[in-house]
Amino acid sequence: MSRKKISPLSGGSDTRGEVDIFRVIAGAVRKGGSLVLAWVLAAPAPAQSTDGGIMRPVADMFQPLSRPAEMIHESAVLVLMITAAIFVVVTAMLVFVVWKFRRKGPEDDMEEPPQIYGSTHIELAWTVIPILITFVLILVTSRTIGEIQNAKMPEDALKIRLVGHQWWWEVHYPDLGIITANEIHVPVSTRTGKPRPTEIILESADVIHSFWVPQLAGKTDMVPNKRNRTWIEPFATGTFFGNCAEYCGTQHANMLLRVIVEEPADFDKWVANMKRAPGVPTEGMAAQGHRDFYGNSCVSCHRVDGTVAEGVFGPDLTKLMTRQTIGAGVAPLTPENLRTWVRDPQSLKTGCLMPDMKLLDSEVDSITAYLLTLK
């Protein structure tokens, strides 16, 4: 990863004249640090999958594939190296002292060692060293905070509004008029051509949640009555895994988020499909399911674009079958799992806010068949 990259966020090409000491240090330690970390973490290689591109389930923050995760990684490795050096030095001092000055035998009990009360020079020395290290860290930190938080988005950056619910994610593309849930599609950016960052507005409908996809960006909380903002600029395609990172109640563990980064052409295809209104099945099980769906209280909570189903308490179902998972990541979205969910969501996700609707077996079958047509 070369430092020569063009970014919309530092105002054009990176051609600053002055020698940037922190960048130099960071660059030098990064190679070594990455090697050590690669060995420590030894994460399994990403697996290939058919629908979501490369699956990246191991959300290793030391393998960032997007800004600002890369910028965080840079300062993280620098800090890791500094702390590792301190650790080695102080541990060596401790081991040396413990070994060298151990009681060697009963003869040591006869006489007390020389009583030293302190030394101004030594104490001054070990006050100054931490101050210097702290000073360096303060500079690195302040700089990275500013770079990430105050980054300017280009006018035409893709905008997403992400709303946290107990325990799922509502996804809006305000400029594209798309509403979906639990999976975000974004185009991949590029280091050489025109960058395509995505700006994400974070809100919450109930309690505090937190957006965290480690390979793309650090956490930003989703706080009710507060509008937060973060951004990502991924450089690799694939399906990235994230979790809700702020404890939000019973099913906090199963509030999973996937970010699907695609080539711009694939992203455009996905957008086009999402904008197409869903058809109404006219025959067979699916048609019966359509009637059952709208005849039951499903529509109080769920939304299907262009129909009377305009509920806002549950995830949008307009293009349900384009998603990889069900229940915000609790299970893969297969017809069997979908049927289980429709019959009793509590059996898959205990405590989730969708109740067991006590549907008849025939209704379960028909509604499942209808839902399978939403793609």
Binding site: D60, A76, T127, V207
Partner: protein, 564 residues
Amino acid sequence: MNPDTFDPNFKIPAPERIGDERGSLTRLVQEMVFTVDHKRLGLMYIGSGLLFFVIAGIMAAMIRIQLAVPRNDFLEPDVFNRLFTMHGTAMVFLVGMPIIFGFANYLVPLMIGARDMAFPRLNAFGFWVFFFSGLLLYFSYLGAPGLYAAGSAPDVGWFAYSPLTAKAFSRGHSTDYWTLSLLMGGIGSLVTSINIIVTTLCLRCKGMILGRMPLFVWLFLVVAFLVIIAIPPLSACQIMLILDRYFGAKFFDTQAGGSAVLWQHFFWIFGHPEVYILILPGFAIASEVIPVFSRKPIFGYPVMVAASVMIAFISLGVWAHHMFSVGMTSIGNTFFAISTLLVAIPTGIKIFNWIGTMYGGKLRFELPMLFCIGFLFQFLIAGLTGVMLAIAPFDWQLTDSYFVVAHFHYVLIGGLLFTIFAGIYYWYPKALGKMPDFRLGLCHFILFTVGFHITFFPQHIAGFLGMPRRIYTYDTGRGWDAWNLISTIGVIFQAAGILFFVVNLIYSYIWGKKAGDDPWDAWSLEWSTTSPPPAYNFETIPEVRSRRPLWDLKHPDDPDWKYE
């Protein structure tokens, strides 16, 4: 035990009723309930703290069993959420706080040459308020059934972020048990801390100027000041929460313009000093144990005092580093990152001074010293991971992940609990008159240290791999399986270590060697009286001329006061 009316010829009156004989169970209970003696209250604090420690430890073991393998169904999600809430709350408020207050109660009067705390009855009040606040918290398991599926123990996490605690999201009464218990416990902590401050400032024996107090007393003075400044914000939080839940107030009601972030600010204004309230007593114990077993005075006493005061002072201005991800401005984030990094300076000085104390000494590896060396090593790691967390951008990745879980367990177990063990082994002979058994203690040390690292080191890596904290389950394939399994295996070693510890406490009390007044050849005043000390502590109130009065006594040819 009013020090004014102490009469050395006073005899405890003979028992009047059957069942009142000394040593019988009813007599013991009676003595515990009515006692105002600082030593007995100190032991009661430590004893009940250890009791809650075992309970909260079993809860932690259940948490680890659930997380041992992916998609485990050992626990229901709600049960798991209650467990980590109760585990955290109990470990901070019912284990950490009472044990440190126990040490302060037992030792501060002895170390400054006083006959008791300044307000003995207030002291007893503080203990009982704490004890019943603990019972109240645990009673929630029985007493808060609440609505269907919304009852039983609190499940909002130990820092209980609003609005998860609002009536709408936390039905039933579980959160109220949590709130009232903390409010009550806070009162206990406040009165005890005021008592410590008054005792330290007003009851010192002749010659015990502030600059000659043992570092232990100094650190507890600092801790007590931190408590009286930091606990009121917590109490205010709880009062606001009660008003919100029962009187329709809007403090944290986000629908009515209230702010969810305000709770976090108020809570962490308490919460971060609380971390130092818990770790400074660890420093206090290490600062007593390390010199004695190195056979040297503490290196740089004035600097150690200054560093402690500085840590306490800075700790009041760093709270929002728990909130880097909440969406503060870049200026706010930078400010709190800087103030947090500044804590590293006095903390580093302290570690260097402890190593400086050992340098040139003749180290005796008795049990307290072993635990203190473990403390130094582990606290070093905890401090360095703390530095990583202080780097706000890095914290955006690390916060609320298992890395944080590992970090604060290194602080609270590797730092505080290890020094508590050191302190218990160090003062056991003083309090009970018997020596703790070395072999059992060594087994405890080895098993617990190994188990501690096996359990908590892998959690750093799970955090690096994106595992958030407080999840009751996870999918396989995300790189977390192995680290979690290793982590759970470590629990077995820790539990075995604790078993040896408990056995040692009982075994040594019954069969241990007699300790004598001063088994460790130490230098502070508590070792000048008998083991265990009499109710009046000292036959004659001592007079000191240096920081190490017993050194002066043992080395009349080369006393300390010549050099001060």
